[in-house]
């Protein structure tokens, strides 16, 4: 029986803005077990990034707030915890890496200093020990010449290298869970391949779980064991990766998969990409009922009246749809 590390139940993270109340995350359930990679997929505005940041409570509390729900980390709810308690969990138990490594790294400190800082705070190492450990981390992430590069500044690294440094920082305390928020979106595809491979290596080495947030279905197919699809603040489908791609049940998932051009598909007759008409509804005033209804080709009256709950359609496969 797989051990569940993170269990998010009914999470609602709302933001009070000038324009009104933005229900960025509006009732999300998901869980991650030990050793697995969970993909959280969705397009802009679906709430995946807010969900990720909510786990580590990296949301600005005004204007954001946790309206409802629980975030259970190894059985313990993180939402009521104070800053001190959260600091113990951040980096040591749960680490996070972001999309844009240039802005996540402080440009005025060397990378060695930044990695060492994490170690000094959490593992109580001395400065000298911490720098040495930082060199090891850089070596681990395949940065050539780590002894020298540990004293370089972020701008002296390329995008791909900076992301490796981020990974090194995240790994330094050997966390149980790594949250990766679009880690390769800003990178070239060959560099992306390197980084994904590196993450897999790291995962194997320390038996870590990964929550991979992305909008790239190809990346999900190659790296994740299970997938959660989000739309407009809610989860619409959850499945093991083969089931999701082989038998997608939610019309949004189906539309998403069919709208992606595929390099490997024989295109003797160039098929037209199937597109989902319309655009994502505003989170300020979300529609009652299923949020995808306005764009769904199977939509019926019942869809507008109430939000369909997640129902089980296969082993580990749940869909929020009446079909």
């Amino acid at each position: 029986m797989a051990e569940t590390l993170l269990d998010i139940r009914g999470l609602k993270t709302w933001f009070a803005t000038d324009d009104g109340l933005v229900r960025a995350v509006d009732g999300v359930d998901l869980h991650i077990d030990r050793g697995e990679t969970l993909g959280v997929v969705g397009e802009s505005g679906c709430g995946k990034t807010v969900t990720a940041r909510s786990v580590l409570k990296l949301i600005d509390m005004p204007p954001g707030r946790f309206e409802d729900g629980q975030i259970l980390w190894q059985g313990r709810d993180l939402i009521p915890l104070g800053q001190d308690e959260m600091d113990k969990i951040r980096a040591r138990e749960i680490a996070i890496i972001f999309q844009e490594p240039m802005t996540s790294l402080n440009p005025v400190y060397t990378v060695g200093h930044q990695i060492a800082e994490v170690l000094q705070q959490h593992e109580k190492l001395s400065r000298k020990q911490a720098i040495q450990a930082a060199v090891e981390m850089l070596r681990l992430v395949n940065i050539p010449n780590p002894q020298k590069r540990v004293h370089d500044y972020p701008h002296q690294f390329s995008g791909g290298m900076r992301q490796r440094v981020m990974i090194a920082m995240a790994m330094s305390c050997k966390p149980k869970l790594l949250i990766a928020d679009e880690p390769t979106t800003a990178l070239d595809v060959t560099i992306q391949a390197q980084i994904l491979e590196l993450m897999q290596e790291m995962k194997d080495k320390i038996g870590m779980s990964v929550m991979l947030i992305t909008h790239a279905m190809g990346v999900v197919a190659e790296t994740c064991q299970r997938v959660v699809v989000m739309y407009a603040g809610k989860v619409v489908e959850e499945a093991p990766v083969e089931a999701l791609f082989g038998d997608p049940r939610h019309p949004y998932t189906q539309g998403l998969i069919r709208s992606i051009p595929r390099v490997d598909r024989a295109a003797e007759h160039k098929e037209r990409l199937e597109s989902i008409p319309g655009s994502v509804p505003s989170l300020l005033n979300p529609p009652t009922g299923c949020r995808f209804a306005s764009r769904c080709k199977y939509a019926m009256d019942i869809c507008v009246r109430g939000m369909p709950p997640l129902k089980e359609v296969g082993p580990g496969h749940r869909v929020a749809c009446v079909l």
């Binding site: 505005g45 597109s275 008409p277 994502v280 505003s282 989170l283 529609p287 209804a293 306005s294 507008v304």
Partner: protein
Amino acid sequence: MAGSTPASLTAERPAPAGIAAGVTPRKKARFSPGLEAWRRFRRHKLAMASSIILGLIVVAVLLGPLIWRVPINEIDFASKLDGPSWAHPLGTDDLGQDILARLLYGGRISLAVGFCAMLVAAVVGVMVGAIAGMSRGSIDAALMWLADLFLSLPQLPLLLLISYLFRDSLTKILGTQGGIFVMIVVVIGGLRWMQVARLVRAQILSIREKEFIEAARALGASSFRQVVRHILPNALGPVIVAGTIDVAAAIIAESTLSFLGLGFPPDIPTWGRVLFDAKDTIDIAPHWALFSGGAIFLAVLTINFIGDGLRDAFDPRRVL
């Protein structure tokens, strides 16, 4: 996330009719950037309140002297240094002159100086900044060097010098008030254009690189068209905000000059002058200094709050 209008569709497939009606579409009417800015300004309560107060001040100084007909220089030693009373709502000064009448009259000049100096700074600044921003290389470098030069000029000694050199000729041409007015406006405005120029230049440099300018070029737009139709309208937001700050600064500058006795002749009751006259009797007649200083303070405060509101209104994060 930018607000979305409902379902823009490819030519192929309309959404199921009944369902689309059930979903709440965005009800936004057409909103020009100007209207949007006004909406945001209105939300800034302090700015709105300040606008009203400043409006009242302006009306007061324009119409006040017509309504409150007490002469500004009626000397009455009997009631000198009196506190506020029904006859003299703001009290009298050491010559028995009515302070309210003097402030109302002098306010015209103080505000006019502030406003005109801002105009001088804005016009010169926008022109220099635009030319510098649009051209590259030597012209830009030369203009910025000029701006740096002006920035190192000290305002007060310069005013003294110009006053010494030009006061007589100016007063001969334009009369005492006119001459000094022009002189002060030119000096204050002439020493504030640099910030505006820098701002405009920076804005232009950043907007030039934007893709919509490149798009205009790709369509065949001439340089002139690019500047007038595309660049300047987008560049002027921060300039307007800076303008309000300039008005406030100019009012203070004029007050300082008058306070130092360098501005208008002593019989003209600009607010700074009145404050200057009041300083010697602060302990026995505090009302004099309080009301004149208070007038300056109130005007500058409201203008600064309005500037804040304008800054929020033009927030580039929202519009650009």
